[in-house]
Amino acid sequence: MIATLVLGFALSIRAQQPPAGARGATPAAPPLDTAAVERGRLFFAQVCSFCHGIDARGGAEGGSDLTLSPIVVTDPGGRQLGEFLQVGRPEKKMPAFPLPPAQLSDVAMFLRAAVAAGDRGPAAVVVGDARAGEAFFTGAGRCATCHSITGDLKGIGLKYSTATLQGRLVLPRGTGGYPGRGSEIPPFRSVTVTLPSGERHTGTLLSVSIFSVTLQDAAGARRTFTRDENVPTVEITDPLQAHLDLMTTMADKVMHDLTAYLVTLR
């Protein structure tokens, strides 16, 4: 379990790093043009705001806060934004929006205004009691059964934002957006398929439905079995089952206390 947890955290860290090219010298910013800001605002409201919010600070539907985006913040002229919009980020459900130069310039101008207008409140505030969190960690929560503050959780408080830490302590799978459809998100589940003959196949679960199951066995081979009325039998083991069991009844105070404790692990 520890190994799979670490894998999950590592993926999350990678996902949070700014894209290549986002850092470097800041280009000189053109003066703020209110007419362009207004044109950009109208365009943004119509095309972008569903995900990114009317003020570009992130929407409920998982779009990121663009006023915190390195692409936006370090690139007031819109060049990086234009390059980014050529391809989007399909893996995060951000489609490509190739824009003509004039429109791009308007949107960049609007985003610059949005950055300037933003108040920078933290996304999550530590409100819990670290001592109570520690007591839960070592006691009733039985977290120490799998985790160690000198092992897998060493320095965890420095690795994540508070919101990320809190989200992943409840369920260390995913990055807070919508989970991908059908395909597995690490840490992976394991599966055992037992054929009517008694022959068993065990491996990493790749996908499962009521009609089929696909696994990758220890040799790296991909095996798919069709299913009919639960034949062959399929047993799935989730390394995060203890988290799933806990989250269904977890009180907000317990969650806050654990977060308050984990942020102290530096």
Partner: protein, 527 residues
């Protein structure tokens, strides 16, 4: 041709008026819900439990030019319920309308409105030879169904005021009824009735009350109410005998932050009964008082002519995004049942048919763990009620999120800085509920590790052939035995989940079952 189409519309109206219990959708599919009851039940029975194993692909129609984008579908997806009238399917995606030969899947014409992509489009409405469609920039466009040529367009409200109109117009008598408003816009939404010939306004119903009007006492002020959304973006259902349309409304805004809008916030997250001739409200019922979790009530209000305690009753049933199943008397809006069907932890209880929200489960700067997440236990795709089985069928999911509010926001609007950490989607399933009690009769649980969410929630169709058509999270299109839940037939439609609700009709004596998955529409019939 005009006369013939009008005659068909009239026949459908008469059949519907004759009694919901006896009818079902017939040979055609002339309006969003198939008929006005919202039951997604068809009286067709050429395809049955016994022969569905011989169901085969007849054609595929792939849409082109869809400019959909944003949260729900970076890839184009048909979310619309196509109409099928006189052998022609009429379907839409944002800014696009297609006419397709329902026998062959061949495109007849394609209409494009110049505009940008958006969340989705639910479909077109039809009156005689005229079609009506809403555009993301809040126009209603009327087309000639024979040619796809534009007759007129009408700007309903500015893009700046309201975003992303997506509802399908519904034609009741000589009223083209359209819901205008998107989501989280911090503005006023409304339902408007238009003249089918000219587009002239007949009446307009605002989803939130004005100064001095009933319901304004559930808001701090008329100013707050006027910018608080409640978008009616799902086509209404209709009872011709009572002459009432049943309109469901969206969430109030700011969506997550309720501190500036104390009170129940009528008529958001509600069903309202309106007279389609005047727009006057007969009654309302609010599913989620003072919602702070984006649990809009734009799930289908299903009209059931049923029996409770031996008495025939005119009922309205809804499986709500908030995780509860509701049963109302649709003559007066009186609540008869509130029954939980999915994981929920944010209500203190039920008081006289009203859910009591738990203030401690609103989002907070420290984060609040809430079941379900904002996508909800169910969503807009159609559930189904079969009068043959007496069961109400809905695809449901358990999900959780940590809801955050920005610390001390000064002027929260829209979704503001408030946000949500999605923990996952668990235990997606097809549920069969006793419509009277909400008790689970059977359910098909899906083992997929990521389940349904709003854009991947398949709709449900039941038929007099004893079948239930729907889909799973892996993208299989499945026929079940509606009585037992046993899967009888399935086909995987290309790596995307079912993206609308299945429908059925008859042409030349052959029953077709049609469903959308992603950018394509699939027609099936018996081999």
């Amino acid at each position: 041709m005009i006369r013939r189409s009008l005659a068909i519309v009239t026949i459908v109206a008469i059949l519907t008026a004759a009694g919901l219990a006896q009818s079902g959708t017939g040979d055609s599919w002339p309006t969003y819900h198939g008929d006005h009851s919202g039951r997604h039940y068809s009286s067709l029975k050429q395809v049955t439990v016994a022969n569905v194993k011989n169901l085969s692909l007849a054609w595929v129609f792939r849409t082109t030019g869809s400019s959909q984008g944003g949260r729900a579908a970076p890839a184009p997806a048909i979310k619309a319920m196509p109409l099928m009238v006189n052998g022609v399917l009429y379907l839409s995606t944002p800014n696009q309308v297609f006419a397709v030969d329902a026998r062959t899947g061949e495109q007849i014409w394609h209409y494009a409105w110049p505009g940008h992509g958006a969340i989705g489009n639910r479909g077109v409405g039809m009156f005689g030879n005229w079609l009506y469609v809403a555009t993301p920039d809040n126009n209603i466009v009327s087309l000639d169904a024979r040619t796809g040529k534009e007759r007129w367009s009408k700007k309903m409200v500015s893009v700046e005021a309201v975003n992303f109109s997506s509802s399908a117009p519904v034609v009741i008598g000589n009223h083209v009824i359209v819901g205008i408003g998107g989501d989280g816009g911090g503005s006023q939404s409304f339902l408007e009735s238009l003249d089918p010939e000219t587009g002239a306004s007949q009446w307009k119903w605002l989803t939130t009350p004005g100064k001095g009007e009933p319901g304004i006492e559930t808001w701090p002020s008329a100013e707050v109410a006027a910018r608080s959304a409640g978008a009616p973006w799902l086509p209404p259902t209709y009872d011709p005998a009572l002459n009432l349309i049943y309109v469901t409304t969206g969430q109030p805004t700011p969506t997550y932050n309720g501190k500036g809008r104390e009170g129940d916030n009528l008529y958001t997250c509600s069903v309202v009964a309106l007279n389609p001739d005047t727009g006057k409200m007969a009654w309302y019922y609010q599913f989620s008082p003072h919602d702070t979790h984006d649990w809009d009530a734009t799930q289908v209000p299903v009209l059931i002519d049923g029996t409770i305690d031996g008495q025939p009753r005119k009922l309205l049933a809804q499986a709500n995004r908030n995780g509860y199943y509701f049963l109302l008397d649709r003559t007066n809006g009186k609540n008869l049942l509130v029954k939980q069907f999915a994981a929920s932890n944010s209500y203190l209880g039920i008081d006289n048919g009203r859910l009591i929200p738990n203030p401690a489960k609103e989002g907070s700067p420290g984060g609040t763990l809430v079941f379900p997440d904002s996508d909800g236990a169910a969503n807009y795709p159609s559930p189904s009620f079969s009068p043959d089985t007496g069961l109400f069928y809905v695809n449901a999911t358990d999900a959780a999120s940590i809801f955050y509010l920005a610390k001390d926001p000064t002027h929260p609007t829209g979704f503001g800085r408030d946000s949500e950490w999605h923990l996952g989607l668990f235990n997606s399933r097809l549920m069969a509920l006793d419509y009277r009690t909400g008790q689970v009769r059977w359910q098909q649980k899906y083992p997929e590790t990521a389940g349904f969410w709003s854009s991947t929630h398949p709709g449900v169709l039941t038929t007099a052939g004893g079948l239930l058509f729907s889909g799973d999270p892996s993208g299989n299109f499945i026929a079940f035995d509606a009585a037992t839940g046993k899967p009888l037939w399935h086909a995987r439609l290309g790596g995307t989940t079912i993206s609308n609700s299945p429908q059925t009709f008859v042409l030349d004596g052959r029953q077709y079952v049609v469903v959308a998955a992603g950018d394509s529409l699939f027609g099936f019939a018996l081999q």
